[in-house]
């Protein structure tokens, strides 16, 4: 049944249809204002579900799409889904607001922009609110598409197209892989419904397809969430307009992968592979992202790598959090905290990263550049922007009193705790987690500081800027201001989120821990006491500050990596390589020479058939055969001789005459084999054909001897001999195994009695199989008309399109 | 009886075939091929006609028609080929004594 929930999900799509009309009909009003209403309404609509999920209820509405295949458009609202839905609509609202000031209605093709954006929004809602894997996949791919379109929004720019293609290839690759994983899940459980799969999760862990399904699905999640080594598309995606970067590439789309991991945790999390892979990829990504961010000079580049790193962090927490499932209940469950931290940080990241992106956009918009080497000293001209940057960056760096500090602390706790987990070698190798996490946090601190201080402090360099910088209009500042306010609010009052959003979301991720009527209790507070986490944070700040100040001295470290080994380079090489290898391969066999093609075809014919013939032991020589008279033998010799003459002659006329003789001899065989009608037809047709040959080939030159050298002819001869042999061998074998009587016995009786003719062949032709004859004369007629056309109609020299 | 007529025809055809191989130039070969071969086929067709007429009592107009047809066309065919050969410039056997057409044509040529 179609419900309001479904309508809410598809509402953005419906709205997207009207955007071009609005853009055309009302050019005076910025189209964004109309678009803004959609996320606003949806945000309010989804807020209504908060009480529902807080009381641990879920809402499910089914609308059949292809029920026969188990594909239902099942909208399912639970804690996790709602959290994402609110993020999507909430941030969406702010982003649209921001874009109204960011994109000029005079210069930009707003109809395209908002259509794609709304498509994306709807798709994203679909991803997080669908219970059916296939529907989820549908929306998943649409997010990839709309992301592609948004990245390549300025389609005349080479880099936009490059980035768009890259993101599409990588994310769609993941999508395809994920689809295979979903199908494997279906093969194991017989359903596409996530809830039902979770219910039967216990039964499938030992299935052969369990690990393949997990790996393929994770590939989808990792590509979407820009995990190492698939993160390379995200920095290039920054070619998109900044509102898009803020929305898709930091707050929502990239989190779809995290959503998927969280959503499917109940299915897979019991296995050690899951834990190691998810946590391992996460932690590596965390490190690599933060490490790479430091060398960036583009503001959005820094933010992109930072996003990569932060996503890795969330993922590693989700992976580590899987440890909790190994305990039956929540009591004394040390590992629940990791999941809590993951969700909390997910929200925090959306707030501070969104604001930072918008900040970067403002800087870009007002100064004309995002290059930190050209920026500096903007603090005085753009004080509000500076404030936004400070709050966002400090939160990202994990400094108190912002929300980032809280989740960073919880992250450290989780990483330290996991070393005590007594399974899957976590207690030995697990020690790497806190170490890497700590190192990565130092780099996080460094680039966060770079964001603020390189841009806003130091000396202003107006000569490097194309325009005179000034503070942005208020409308543009409004969205980031709201976001940084949230950073502060969540920092001081984290438990606003804890009860309303985090607890229900955890119930979705770790359902097995909850007994009947139980619920999670999450309480986030500032002061933990003098714990190891606090020392770690202090270490981060101390060493981070030192390193930041001495940045110039050690930045050469980055040059140690040869540029040919970077992942980007590998991607470029792969794409270019695929094209090159394809060209070479295709060029090698598609020679456009018909002779080559025929050689391939005949060779395949011979090899395949002879192989099968002997492999299946099908060759046999027995079965009844008719006697041979002497004169028949002589005629056979005539046939063979003529064939050889035709083969090897170089005279055109000789070949044609030879063909005639061949045809006549065959007609004689038809006589010997009691086929008068055939003989008659063959004779006339042969004669007419020969006449036609003469007519057509009067003008052609003689067959030249020079053209075909010995090797050429020897090769041809071997192939043709093989073809002839194959035909003969199969013929003999087929003759030897006549398994069934022919249906011929019917015709002698039926011909005269039922069809009124004594010439059975003719009766078959005009009556039993008259349809064949009808078509056969059709072929003749088409051929004649075709010949007529070919001779008369000449559009020579015309270039056909 | 009939088989002997047929055999005779076959032998004639062999003769004409041998002539086709052994004779020195196109014009003599043409002679062998058309004249004796025509005779051979007439023999055999006649044998066939007799066979059906005597054994089955079946008088076939088609065989007679065939005989007549071959009788008419064989000389025409022979003529055409020989003429074509001549006009396309195939030389006579060196031992030929006369070439009247050649002289005639030459005369025509010089007069015109």
């Amino acid at each position: 049944m179609l419900t309001a929930l479904h309508i809410a999900i598809v509402a953005p799509f419906i709205a997207a249809v009207f955007v071009p009309f609005l853009y055309k009909k009302l050019p005076k009003i910025h189209t964004g204002w109309f678009v803004l209403t959609i996320p606003a309404i949806l945000f309010v609509y989804f807020l209504q579900y908060l009480p529902v999920t807080s009381s641990k209820q879920t809402v499910t509405a089914v609308w059949d799409w292809i029920p026969s295949l188990g594909i239902h458009f099942t909208a399912h609202v639970d804690g996790l889904g709602l959290l994402f839905a609110l993020l999507i609509t909430g941030i969406g609202m702010l982003v649209v607001l921001y874009s109204i000031y960011y994109l000029s209605k005079e210069r930009e093709a707003l109809n395209n922009f908002y259509t794609f954006l709304l498509m994306f929004m709807g798709a994203m809602l679909g991803v997080v609110l669908s219970d059916n894997l296939i529907v989820l996949y549908t929306f998943w791919e649409i997010t990839s598409l709309s992301s592609f379109l948004l990245i390549s929004y300025w389609y005349e720019r080479e880099k936009s197209r490059y980035g768009a293609l890259k993101s599409m290839l990588i994310t769609v690759m993941g999508g395809f892989s994920m689809l295979v994983g979903f199908v494997m899940l279906y093969a194991m459980t017989g359903t596409f419904s996530i809830q039902e799969i979770i219910a039967s999760a216990g039964d499938i862990t030992s299935h052969d397809l369990f690990i393949p399904a997990m790996l393929t699905i994770l590939l989808g999640a990792f590509t979407k969430s820009a995990q190492f080594p698939f993160h390379i598309w995200l920095p290039d995606a920054m070619e998109a307009p900044t509102p898009v970067s803020a929305y898709l590439h930091s707050a929502t789309m990239v989190k779809a992968g995290i959503y998927l991991v969280a959503r499917l945790s109940p299915v897979f999390a019991f296995s050690g592979e899951w834990m190691w892979i998810v946590a391992g990829f996460g932690i590596v990504t965390l490190f690599w992202g933060s490490f790479s961010a430091v060398q960036q000079t583009d503001l959005k580049g820094i933010l992109a790598f930072s996003t990569v790193s932060q996503l890795g962090m969330i993922l590693s927490m989700l992976g580590v959090g899987a440890a909790a499932i190994h305990f039956d209940s929540m009591d004394d469950n040390l590992y629940i905290g990791a999941t809590t931290a993951a969700i909390f940080h997910l929200i925090n990241h959306a707030t501070f990263k969104g604001s930072l992106f918008m900040m970067a956009g403002i800087v870009d918009h007002e100064t004309g550049t995002r290059d930190i080497r050209r920026l500096g000293g903007l603090m005085t001209v753009m004080p509000i922007t500076f404030t936004i940057a400070v709050i966002g960056s400090f939160s990202m760096a994990g400094l108190p009193p912002f929300n980032g500090f809280l989740s960073k602390e919880m992250f450290f706790t989780a990483m330290v705790d996991i070393t005590s987990f007594q399974a899957f070698n976590m207690d030995s190798f697990g020690v790497l987690f806190p170490v890497v996490a700590w190192v990565a946090s130092i780099f996080t601190f460094i680039y966060s500081m770079m964001l603020v201080f390189k841009t806003f402090t130091g000396k202003m360099q107006p000569e490097k800027l194309d325009v005179k910088p000034h503070e942005a209009p208020f409308g543009m500042l409004l969205s980031p201001i709201i976001l940084v306010s949230l950073v502060i609010v969540f920092g001081f009052f984290p438990n606003i989120l804890a009860y309303t959003v985090i607890e229900p979301a955890m119930a979705s991720i770790l359902p097995s821990l909850l007994g009947e009527g139980e619920q999670f209790y999450v309480d986030i507070y500032f002061w933990h006491g003098w714990t190891i986490e606090l020392y770690m944070t202090m270490g981060v700040i101390g060493i981070g500050t030192l390193l930041y100040l001495s940045l110039r001295k050690w930045v050469a470290v980055y040059d140690v990596f040869p540029s040919s080994l970077t992942l980007n380079h590998i991607y470029d090489q792969t794409v270019a390589g695929v094209e090159k290898v394809s060209s070479q391969l295709t060029g090698a066999y598609m020679t456009s020479s018909i002779r080559h093609y025929l050689l391939y075809i005949f060779s395949f014919f011979v090899v395949a058939l002879v192989f099968v013939l002997f492999n299946k032991d099908a060759f046999s020589v027995d079965g009844a055969t008719a006697p041979i008279s002497v004169y028949e033998g002589v005629l056979a010799a005539v046939l063979v001789t003529t064939a050889l003459v035709v083969m090897f002659t170089r005279s055109r006329l000789k070949a044609i005459i030879g063909l005639g003789v061949l045809g006549y001899t065959i007609a004689l065989f038809f006589v010997i084999f009691r086929a008068p009608d055939l003989a008659l037809t063959q004779l006339i047709i042969e004669t007419v054909s020969v006449a036609l040959f003469l007519l057509c080939f009067y003008h052609l030159p003689q067959i030249s001897r020079k053209l075909e050298n010995m090797r050429f002819r020897a090769g041809n001869f071997i192939v043709s001999l093989a073809v002839g042999l194959t035909v003969t061998l199969i013929g003999i074998s087929a003759n030897s195994s006549r398994l069934f009587e022919s249906i011929a016995g019917f015709f002698p009786e039926a011909s005269y009695d039922e069809a009124g003719g004594k010439n059975m062949v003719n009766v078959i032709l005009v009556d039993f199989r008259g349809f064949d004859t009808l078509l056969e004369i059709l072929v003749l007629a088409i051929a004649a008309a075709g010949i007529f056309t070919m001779i008369k109609l000449r559009l020579a020299g015309r270039n056909d399109l | 009886m009939i088989s002997i007529i047929v055999l005779l025809g076959a032998l004639l055809s062999l003769v004409s075939a041998i002539g086709l191989v052994r004779l020195p130039d196109i014009y003599t070969r043409s002679h062998a091929a058309t004249k004796s071969a025509t005779l051979s086929v007439l023999c055999i067709l006649f044998g066939l006609f007799l066979y059906f007429a005597l054994v089955d009592g079946y008088v076939s107009a088609r065989i007679l028609l065939g005989i007549v047809f071959v009788f008419i066309t064989a000389p025409v065919g022979g003529h055409l080929i020989a003429r074509a050969a001549y006009h396309s410039g195939v030389s006579l056997w060196e031992s030929s004594i006369q070439d009247e057409l050649h002289t005639k044509k030459k005369n025509q040529h010089s007069s015109s």
Binding site: G756, A781, I791 | -
Partner: protein, 140 residues
């Protein structure tokens, strides 16, 4: 080089009638003896080819001012048309029927719809062969 074809043309006139008569015979007898629409049609066509060989295209065109493409189409239409009748009678497409009728002069004869179908075949074969040969002949 000019040459006269008197012998050929004379022989042709004579032979042509034999061939045509024979082809008509083969066509009508096709249901019982070797022959039929194809062979009959092809023989008629070869008779016309002989005419083309002995004379020239314009000459034949004057004798037979027919567009052979239309003959082809007409033949096809005839053949399909025999099938269309089956729609009227509610029997499967291309159902043939035959019966024996007594005619005043000719006596009892068998008439089959198959013959009509064969007429179509006959026409198509003639049309096709001559279309092809004429078209190519004209192009040279």
């Amino acid at each position: 080089m000019k040459s006269n074809d008197v012998i050929l043309q004379t022989a042709t006139k004579f032979v042509l009638f034999i061939i045509l008569a024979f082809s008509v015979y083969m066509f009508f007898n096709g249901h019982h003896e070797p022959g039929g629409g194809f062979i009959g049609g092809l023989m008629t066509a070869s008779a016309l080819v002989l005419l083309l060989l002995a004379y020239d295209i314009e000459m034949v065109r004057n004798i037979l001012p027919v567009d052979f493409k239309l003959v082809t189409a007409a033949g096809l239409l005839t053949a399909v048309g025999t099938g269309l009748g089956s729609f009227l009678f509610g029997v499967p497409f291309l159902s043939q029927t035959f019966d024996y009728f007594t005619f005043p002069v000719l006596g009892e004869l068998e008439l089959a719809t198959a013959l009509l179908f064969d007429v179509g075949v006959y026409l198509v074969v003639i049309g096709v062969t001559l279309t092809i040969i004429q078209t190519i002949g004209e192009d040279q």
